[in-house]
């Protein structure tokens, strides 16, 4: 309650405004009627935005996002403006397309130069002040990403119950540019949320997943990292994952292994030593039996035949164009393998 001669009032310990239009300060007469009112905006000046990250899709544009200082809670309308300029010359430019990948993001669609660094920063302003982020310097070529690999196909490998073949196409948007490509594959069982990742696919456009569970539906995704564009030394930026592609392994009577091959992380160890020993054996055979056509392929074909005929693992049958393979196996193997 104020007396009639009060001309000023101090309000302390106010909480931040609860609505954008400000808090209402209302003066009532003794009978409760409203004599006058005003609006207060109670808040904080912005803190320095930070953690700016940017990427360019196929070298055609630049998208940046940042984290507002103090987690953005100023209780006041705060305007964030992404600014950029060529480092060595040029005027400041202001990004115009905001909120493209979240509330604190901006998209620059065109007119970007390559082979020259940009300086990028964010300015935050509200009624109580302003703040500016640190400047990020980058070359567009060092932050290139691309679309996920298209046309991802997953198929069975003959009758092999623990393998699936994955094929994809190199991103077409970069087909005219010289770059190296890294790919990653991830896969999971249909009713699981745990992905297994294969990350040393290098620049192949196919991979065979092995050591899978028979009779199981798998979802597979692929992504691409186009690094080394025009000689850039930076690591590159991974694309989004491709849409999941599903395929199922054939059913089997025998309990299959649970892990993966094609060098996935977290694969079961039981498949590792067997294949390592086999690899060593094949290497020895090639060296000593003068047969260049022995390979995992023959081994897989043999396994397929085994599953078809339901015979024991000790039956042997040779195929392919390597007539000396059978004779070579009859040799006494050295101790060292």
């Amino acid at each position: 309650m104020l007396n009639a001669s009060t001309l000023a009032l101090a309000l302390a310990n106010l909480n931040g405004s609860r609505q954008q239009s400000g808090d209402n300060l209302v003066c009532h007469a003794r009978d409760g009627s409203i004599l006058a009112g005003s609006c207060l905006y109670v808040g904080l000046p912005p803190e320095k935005p930070f953690n700016i990250s940017c990427w360019s899709k196929n070298m055609k544009d630049l998208t940046c996002r940042w984290t507002p200082g103090a987690h953005g809670e100023t209780f006041l309308h705060t305007n964030y403006s992404l600014k950029y300029k060529l480092r060595w010359y040029g005027q400041d430019n202001t990004c115009e397309e905001y909120h493209t990948v979240g509330p604190h993001s901006c998209h620059i669609p065109k007119d970007l130069a390559l082979f020259t660094p940009y300086e990028i920063w964010v300015e935050a302003t509200n009624r109580l002040g302003s703040a500016r982020s640190d400047v990020l310097t980058l070359d567009i070529l060092d932050v290139v990403t691309t679309d996920p690999p298209p046309d991802v196909h997953v198929s069975r490998v003959g009758g092999l119950e623990d393998q699936l073949s994955v094929r994809w196409v190199s991103p077409p948007a970069l087909k005219d540019f010289l770059f190296q490509a890294k790919y990653q594959i991830r896969y999971r069982v249909e009713d699981s949320v745990d992905w297994k990742v294969v990350d040393d696919v290098s620049n192949q456009t196919s991979c065979r997943l092995a050591g899978l569970k028979p009779g199981t539906v798998y979802f597979v995704q692929v992504r691409c990292n186009p690094f080394g564009i025009y000689g850039s030394k930076k690591a590159g930026i991974w694309s989004e994952w491709s849409h999941p592609t599903a395929a199922s392994t054939p059913r089997s009577e025998r309990p299959g292994p649970g892990g993966g091959a094609c060098e996935p992380r977290g694969s079961e160890p039981s498949s590792g030593p067997v294949r390592r020993e086999l690899k060593q054996f094949l290497g020895w055979l090639k060296k000593h039996a003068y047969c260049s056509n022995l390979s995992f392929r023959l081994y897989d074909q043999w396994r397929a035949w085994m599953q078809k005929s339901h015979k024991t693992r000790n039956q042997h049958r040779t195929r392919g164009s390597c007539p000396r393979a059978e004779g070579a196996r009859r040799e006494v193997l050295p101790d060292k393998l």
Binding site: Q19, Q20, S21, N24, V26, S33, S38
Partner: protein, 203 residues
């Protein structure tokens, strides 16, 4: 006398149907529209109050009722007038409301820029008021009643309120509340007046 059909279908397209049935259908349609818009106007008022902050919306909040140029609340004697006269007054008010609602929307876009639903409701209300006003005039035309004498120009009323709305934030909030309240009063008044003419009504 101009005949504006608003957003209703024209039952007179089929000339084999009695003109009386056409009129009855038109009245019924317009009455249904007014009933729907009354509900929307209530929602608009609730949404508006919610975004202005306390004490707006609190029980006992009795803000000043600033005059709105070119528009006043339905008079106490409105319900005692003949139905055509009531509908003329309804149509006149509905013609003034759209630009006023636009002014309120523009001011709220500055004060509450993230209140997307409120802004959308204000925009829709301006369009709906215009449609209902045109439909009421079509009913008046079908009744053979004059739409009335000279009315204040809606643009002039809007300019006056726009000037008032550019003042302080609190007065702008109060003025917007007044416009939204007047919109609800006139739309529900129109619903009641059309109900007098609709089949099953006292008329």
């Amino acid at each position: 006398m101009s005949r504006r059909e608003g957003s209703l279908e024209d039952p007179q397209a089929d000339s084999s149907v009695s003109p009386l049935l056409h009129l009855e259908a038109k009245i019924q349609q317009t009455h249904s529209l007014a009933r729907l818009l009354t509900k929307y106007a209530e929602q608009l008022l609730q949404e508006y109050v919610q975004h202005q902050g306390d004490p707006f919306g609190l029980p006992g909040f009795s803000p000043p009722r600033p005059p709105v140029a070119g528009l006043s609340a339905p008079a106490p004697g409105h319900a005692g007038l003949p139905v055509p006269e009531r509908l003329r007054l309804d149509a006149a008010a509905l013609a003034v409301l759209p630009p006023l609602l636009d002014v309120v929307r523009r001011r709220q876009a500055e004060l509450n820029p993230r209140a997307a639903r409120l802004l959308r409701r204000l925009e829709d209300s301006a369009r709906q008021a215009r449609a209902l006003g045109a439909a009421v005039e079509a009913v008046l035309g079908a009744l053979g009643a004059e739409t009335g004498g000279p009315r204040p120009e809606p643009a002039a009323a809007a300019a006056a309120i726009a000037a008032a709305a550019t003042g302080g934030v609190f007065p702008a909030k109060v003025l917007g509340l007044r416009v939204c309240s007047l919109y609800l009063e006139w739309v529900s008044r129109t619903e009641a007046d059309l109900g007098q003419l609709a089949p099953g009504g006292p008329a």
